[in-house]
Subunit: 752 residues, 2 copies
């Protein structure tokens, strides 16, 4: 860690705080246009059914109703026949509870709602597949007639790196993908082990819990034939390209405006957008669709449930001898889960000479799944971190020491043989080992315990570009095509200011629309600071070079002798020979040429981020209620450019991890009916359920990130369930194997 | 002219034609916002008066009227006390007929109009100055108490180059600026002359005649404190900066959207914008002001009237021995006319060893003047071209030969001693000499004649920038900050396509707003193709370089061995070793880094353009009506990138020149009352009054323009009045000395 390459960390408040706190910000559903039609969906009450008939006549006769469409009425191009987007409205067969079967377009949302209520659909119920283990059996009912390959949805995972999901063996109909990683000889490994532990760990369907529902508004341009899109998305360019393909347009005819999503967490790439585009193409009018909260829970793209069987062997000296696992991802009715990365991470956190991991993606009659902050990783971490604690107990070694001894480091291999770059897992674990709370674990109250858990995320490295322009006063404007989810604009300002040599208050960051903005990857995979931030850095450095060139000509000195001090470019050693940045702007636009630069990045190495968490819990032996009394989140952030924002991301992720561990689940009954269709039934952790969280920022800098920064967003959600399960074990002696660990389940385990 | 540096000229239709012809385009006044206030002005019926009182109570009581303001209510920062913008609403004293004295803001334009009618203003009439020659007298009434220096308005002329307007002698109160150019010894020159001619030439106030009136809509952002501006302007960045200054904001808080003006011709830099901004600051609400046509004629910024006294001497061998001139620009009530450039051009078209030119800018009680396509040049050309014909006749030499012999060429000097760069005046004149119409001048019908005239314009060279992005399919998007007046987008597409090596249909050109767009000079001074076009060229060439670098890595070959053929990059000599541009896009955004480039230009040399026109007229000896039967417009365009667009600009300019010559004038009576306040009274040449015009494109390429292109827009308006005056002389033997040469004036000259 060379001090010269690291920028000072200076706290700056998020610039978008004011407009968000005051409610002044305009979200996609705030957009209203003359003549715009409101869409309301008619949804299926069955999780599996054949559509017998849909009678739209009564609805069409209602005042204000302009049109009622079923799937057959709409044209969507360039999609596979079984893909979810093509079947946004079910064709002939319904495959999950709440799947839309028709849409009503009306002048007002109230008229559209009345219209939807007047549509009469008849169904013939079909057998339902809910449990993925049953769904894998050869005699299971077939969830869909034409399973998609998953290629379409897989792009949301492209940002995470790794994971080859090509089918490799003859599979039952409902198994859409499998994967197999093998290294060494697991039989020999288990034979050499002093102890072997084995268990099965389950995580349920979880919704990403964003406040703003999925929404999309599209306005057509009758002259150009193009459309303008106001979408709640974290990937403007992907929305552009997929709408263009679905309408048969050139991407230049689709303009996506830089609307900020009201929460996303991986769920907002492309869900409604191509469907809404087809309505616009059909009607020639602007159309807005806003999911209701019920539709959110029934028919969005939540996090998959998983079943992970783990067998782990080790020696008394702490050597891990073998890992064997069978990983099942319940992907709902459409392929596209994070099976590959889940399997890679399961065997990728610790050093295994021998491993064998088999993964299967299975269709069930639930909504298709999407990404949720580190998709697949909380599930994998819950399994491996529970197993590591069990093994440590069996071997009689300290669970943190076992982890530290075996934690992967730079050069250690993933299950697929790829090496990890420089990472900070070990450093995070060491910070927990040295933490006072860990030292206190022998002196806790009754029914209390302390557990640890870890996890990491590879992070995306999508190529990116940025522009930098000098403005009046000598200020800078940075332009990117980023959807700002977590205050990236503020961080970009700091990066540019540091690179140029000015105060961050002099740097404005704006996000252009897809018509003019530099290309950006979607705001997923925790990558934006690492990829776009590097492009911003390069653009700002080049702007400094150009400013120095103008100053050198103006001052009749060499560009190499320049320095920036207090908004002035001076000749080193002759500070009276100077020109202000304000003058540089005037000179550039009147004589020398505008200062206007660009930077691009194409990161070749991932900036993987690791987190290690520790929880102090109390478990009520009667009710099974788990209270988190203290929580410590250590995370390698490379370099914290803006510590309050980094801490905020870690806090938010940690609380979402506690949601996975203790509260959140989408529950479908045996008929596939969703039982948790509102925030009354679906439990997000609220402030009173969030413990005091101590954040420890570990800084193991990357070589290529701006000033050493690495990914931050995804790691903090990963260790929660494993950490809590281990703490419950510590408090009660009982092992929880299913998340969320809600009181009835905990009580059932405690009581037998 | 190296063939290798010149792009093929390929006609492409203007891309904005469809939306303009169908009426689909949205102009600034089409913008409507919730809660927006409509502004209506209360204007003075006096050209000079003291405001005694303004009673707004009755207006304020009307339904829908939200506010009524006079100048004292509004705050405008950073302006000189006498400036027009600060006094958009008259303070205490009215200085021209139709000057606004109050503004009514209401929910609808009808309510605002009713409100304006209910405002009662009392005035005390003051003495009026209408004739600038009278206004220059020491005993003349003072037009204003605090004449501005003209610095503020002078920026509209910055683009034209040249002209130092600092006061140099003790001047009467109403003379706001003077200038003096002197070379050699004019007394000696006249003494050596064989013949000397002398006369005074006048040109009247002319309105630019755009179809869309001046308009501005500004929407405030209550959170940021900034504003978004929808203005009919040709200079987005200037509007941004001047509104920011007037409100005391940073320029980053003012966002000017790239609305296309509905005609501008130099009149639309900043007229209403700072005033509307002050209304927004006062009310906190969106405000729209659209000039009525009457306000356009009364209170916009038309072209000045001029009085030019010319004395010209020459020898029988065609040598010009001396030029002496006194140039008076009637600038209306505010300084800022094109006096300097007018004087420079008067003595800059021909070689004079001896010259003495004195220029004066004089205030009168008329609206302040603005730029109109080659400001000052039609006036100067009318004077010098009339004088050249008179001298040719006096010397008995051919008027075209006299011009060709004396036409300035590269290295010849302006009156201020600066040299002309490579120009094509002589080449244009030679094309007229060789034209069949000129050969027919001895065999015309009765009352018919043929005249020639010439003129040129230096052209702007404002530094500019542009961005180039590769898009899906391998297409390009070019972004600039240009207000597209004349199809520049289409030409930029051609330039980028040629530079990159693809078809122009693959290049989209968009204009960003001032938040993200590359800096651009205003679309004036004929400079956009020369300045921004060069930046576009550089950006596209760099994109080609980046694409070649990716292709070389991908194909394992040297970038130097690449070529582009039919949308593919191929290894020269191994055409099967290739990668499509579509693949290059995919590779760039997934692996190598987005192709995203920028170009800037800072032209050091002007790309001056010259035109020489010839008219065949018939003059009705009884009515004085002049009918143009044939018209030839030869112009050096450097290189015609898109011949139909270049021809269109020449045709439009030539017709506007005929407007100057024969039809157009704003007439103020002795009290300063405008007599021509509508298109019923102000005569724009219509199609039936426009003769068949033959366009001859002469191509003397520039060194620095894209593919040799030079300025086009302004030159064709310049020679009209001189050409027509000389044709009338040819037809009738009588010299017209005042434009427009309307029938009553022609008849008066013919008959006395």
């Amino acid at each position: 860690m060379s001090a010269a390459t690291i920028a000072p960390s200076a706290p700056i408040a998020r610039r978008d705080a004011s407009e968000k706190l005051t409610g002044a910000i305009k979200y996609a559903s705030d957009m209203q246009f003359p003549g715009m039609l409101h869409a309301r969906l008619v949804t299926s009450p069955y999780a599996a059914a054949r559509i017998v008939s849909i009678d739209t006549e009564a609805a069409k006769a209602l005042p204000g109703v302009v049109a009622v469409y079923t799937a057959a009425d709409l044209t969507l191009k360039g999609m596979e026949s079984g893909s979810r987007r093509l079947n946004f409205l079910a064709r002939d067969r319904v495959v999950f509870d709440g799947q839309p079967v028709a849409v009503v377009l009306a002048d007002t949302i109230e008229q559209a709602t009345d219209g939807a209520a007047a549509v009469v659909a008849e169904y013939e119920a079909l057998p339902v597949v809910i449990d993925p283990l049953l769904g894998m059996r050869a005699d299971a009912p077939t969830v869909r007639e034409t399973p998609a390959s998953g290629a379409e949805e897989a792009n949301v995972h492209a940002a995470v790196g790794g994971g080859d999901e090509k089918p490799q063996e003859k599979l039952p109909d409902n198994v859409t993908s499998n994967i197999h990683f093998n290294r060494g000889d697991v039989a020999k490994g288990f034979a050499e082990a002093d102890m072997v532990v084995e268990n099965t760990y389950k995580v349920n369907y979880v919704h990403q819990g964003y406040i703003e529902p999925q929404t999309c508004t599209i306005v057509p341009d009758p002259i150009s034939g193009g459309v303008t899109v106001y979408a709640s998305t974290q990937a403007y360019f992907q929305v552009r390209d997929e709408i263009a393909r679905s309408l048969g347009l050139d991407s230049s005819q689709v303009r996506v405006l830089p609307i900020q999503p009201g929460g996303a967490f991986g769920a907002k790439y492309v869900l409604l957008d191509t469907f809404v585009a087809s309505l616009v193409a059909k009607t020639g009018r602007a159309v807005q669709l806003v999911y209701t909260r019920s539709e959110e829970f029934h028919a969005a793209n939540p996090s998959p449930s998983t079943v992970i069987e783990v067998k782990l062997g080790g020696k008394k000296d702490g050597t891990l001898t073998a890992l064997e696992a069978r990983v099942i991802f319940d992907t709902g009715a459409y392929s596209g889960s994070a099976l590959g990365i889940g399997c890679l991470l399961l065997g990728g956190y610790y050093k295994f000479e021998n491993l064998d991991i088999k993964g299967y993606e299975v269709l069930t009659n639930k909504p298709g799944v999407g990404a949720y902050r580190a998709p697949g990783a909380p599930q994998a971490s819950f399994a491996i971190e529970s197993a590591m604690d069990e093994l440590a107990a069996a071997l009689g070694v300290d669970p943190l020491d076992l982890r530290i001894q075996n934690a992967v480091q730079e050069g250690d291999l993933w299950p697929d043989g790829n090496p990890w770059p420089r990472i900070g897992l070990r450093e995070c674990l060491e910070r927990l080992r040295d933490h006072p709370l860990w030292q206190r674990r022998g002196s806790l109250g009754p029914n209390e315990g302390i557990g640890v858990g870890a996890g990491g995320w590879p992070g995306g490295r999508g190529p990116a570009a940025a522009a930098c322009r000098m403005d009046p006063g000598g200020n800078l404007t940075i332009t990117t095509g980023v959807a700002d989810l977590t205050g990236q604009s503020t961080t970009f300002a700091m990066i540019a200011a540091e690179a140029f040599g000015m105060d961050a208050s002099k740097v404005r960051v704006v996000h252009g629309d897809t018509e003019t903005a530099p290309h950006s990857p979607g705001s997923g995979g925790s990558q934006i600071t690492y990829t776009v931030g590097k492009a911003v850095l390069e653009a700002a450095r080049e702007a400094r070079t150009q400013a120095f060139a103008i100053a050198a000509t103006h001052l009749e000195a060499s560009p190499d002798d320049m320095e920036i001090v207090d908004g002035e470019i001076r000749v080193k050693g002759a500070p009276e020979n100077k020109v202000s940045l304000e003058q540089i702007y005037t000179l550039s636009t009147s004589k020398y040429g505008p200062i206007y630069t660009r930077g691009t990045s194409a990161q070749q190495v991932i900036a993987a981020g690791f987190a290690a968490h520790m929880a102090h819990v109390h478990v009520d032996p009667d009710t099974g209620e788990v209270t988190v009394k203290e929580y410590v989140a250590a995370q390698d952030v490379g370099h914290a450019l803006n510590p309050p924002l980094v801490e905020g991301q870690i806090l938010g992720g940690a609380v979402q991890g506690l949601g996975f561990a203790l509260y959140e689940q989408l529950v479908h009954d045996d008929n596939g009916q969703l039982l948790t269709g509102s925030f009354m039934d679906y439990t997000l952790p609220k402030a009173e359920q969030s413990p005091p969280i101590e954040v420890i920022m570990v800084e193991v800098p990357t070589l290529d990130g701006p000033f050493g920064a690495r990914i931050v967003g995804e790691p903090p959600i990963i260790p929660g369930a494993g950490t809590i399960g281990n703490a419950i074990k510590s408090a009660t002696g009982k092992r929880m194997t299913e998340a969320p660990m809600i009181p009835p389940k905990v009580a059932a385990v405690l009581q037998g």
